[in-house]
């Protein structure tokens, strides 16, 4: 990113307020009486939105070459999806009685 793409402190403060607000919404949703699965889904969606905003504007990925953004996102998402083959093993630990 070069200096001409710096969005300025006022813009950064707006992003900061937005991220604080999303964190506030997360706390609010926690006490709405949602089921565990639904609460997890809501919190994950909000966390991904926060992370996306942070990546684009705090880490300036929006102002880099698009190839950097896509190289980063695609590789991370691909590896995590591949790991998805292993995560359900956590259920096996529960079912065999580990505490």
């Amino acid at each position: 990113m070069d200096a001409s793409h710096d969005p300025g402190m006022r813009f950064n403060i707006a992003i900061w307020i937005g991220l604080l607000a999303i964190a506030g919404v997360e706390v609010f949703m926690t006490y709405r009486g949602l089921s565990t699965h639904r609460l997890l889904a809501v919190l994950l969606i909000l966390a991904f939105v926060e992370a996306g905003i942070g990546l684009l504007y705090f880490m300036h990925l929006k102002f880099e070459r698009p190839s950097l953004l896509w190289s980063f996102v695609i590789s991370v998402v691909f590896v995590i999806l591949m790991m998805n083959q292993l995560w359900p093993d956590a259920y096996r630990m529960v079912s065999i009685g580990h505490k």
Binding site: A3, G8, M9, E50, G54, F58
Partner: protein, 210 residues
């Protein structure tokens, strides 16, 4: 950007292939580190999430006050430290050396405040009988194991970041390091902040007493 321009227009240009992303090598290295660290945290957080929703007797020890409230303050502190880090990067690009040091100092202080709040929360839990393999209520032991492992790994990143900021700040002030180092360290600091955006809801809010 000076190194990059020199590489592209002359200097090592004849022998080195330019970066496909048009960024300095140290910045690309940091992005590669962040990608690998994101996968590490992604794996342990999603593994934890599977375990959490698959355990009906999972404990929910966090009352709104003090635990969730403390977590909210920690979130605000860490987000604010990202803002001050952005100030340091902008000042470095503008060549305002004194301003860089001021912004970096604020970031370091906020990082220390976050670590202090985090450790205070930990010691409060230790006093209640929680531990890596301890559950004072006699329920699943995995809560302590996952909570302290994941938050511990994140806390280690924060403490490492504070040390890195101090070293880079001193290096920049003595002209041993340049603005590229400030920006690269800033990327790491923002990443630590982003990880907390997942740790707080998954580890604290999902385990709030409701």
């Amino acid at each position: 950007m000076g190194d990059l321009a020199a590489t592209l227009t002359g200097g090592h240009g004849a022998t080195m292939e330019p970066s496909p992303y048009r960024i300095q090598s140290k910045k690309l290295t940091m992005w590669l580190f962040i990608a690998s660290d994101a996968v590490t945290f992604g794996a342990i957080l999603f593994g934890y999430a599977y375990l959490r929703v698959g355990s009906p007797e999972w404990p929910r020890p966090f009352h709104f006050s003090p635990s969730i409230l403390n977590g909210m303050v920690m979130t605000a502190v860490l987000l604010t430290s990202s803002l001050t880090m952005l100030g340091a990067v902008a000042a470095a690009k503008a060549g305002q050396r004194a301003s860089v040091i001021r912004w970096l100092s604020a970031t370091v202080l906020l990082g220390i405040a976050f670590a202090t709040l985090h450790l205070r929360e930990w010691f409060h839990m230790f006093d209640e009988g929680w531990g890596l393999a301890k559950n004072p209520d006699g329920g699943p032991l995995m809560f302590g194991a996952t909570f302290f492992s994941i938050t511990g790994l994140h806390l280690m990143h924060v403490i490492s970041g504070v040390v890195a900021l101090v070293v880079v700040g001193i290096g920049y002030n003595t002209k041993w390091l340049d603005e590229g180092h400030i920006e690269t360290t800033g990327l790491y600091w923002h990443f630590v902040d982003l990880v907390w955006m997942f740790v707080f809801p998954l580890l604290y809010l999902m385990n709030a007493t409701r």
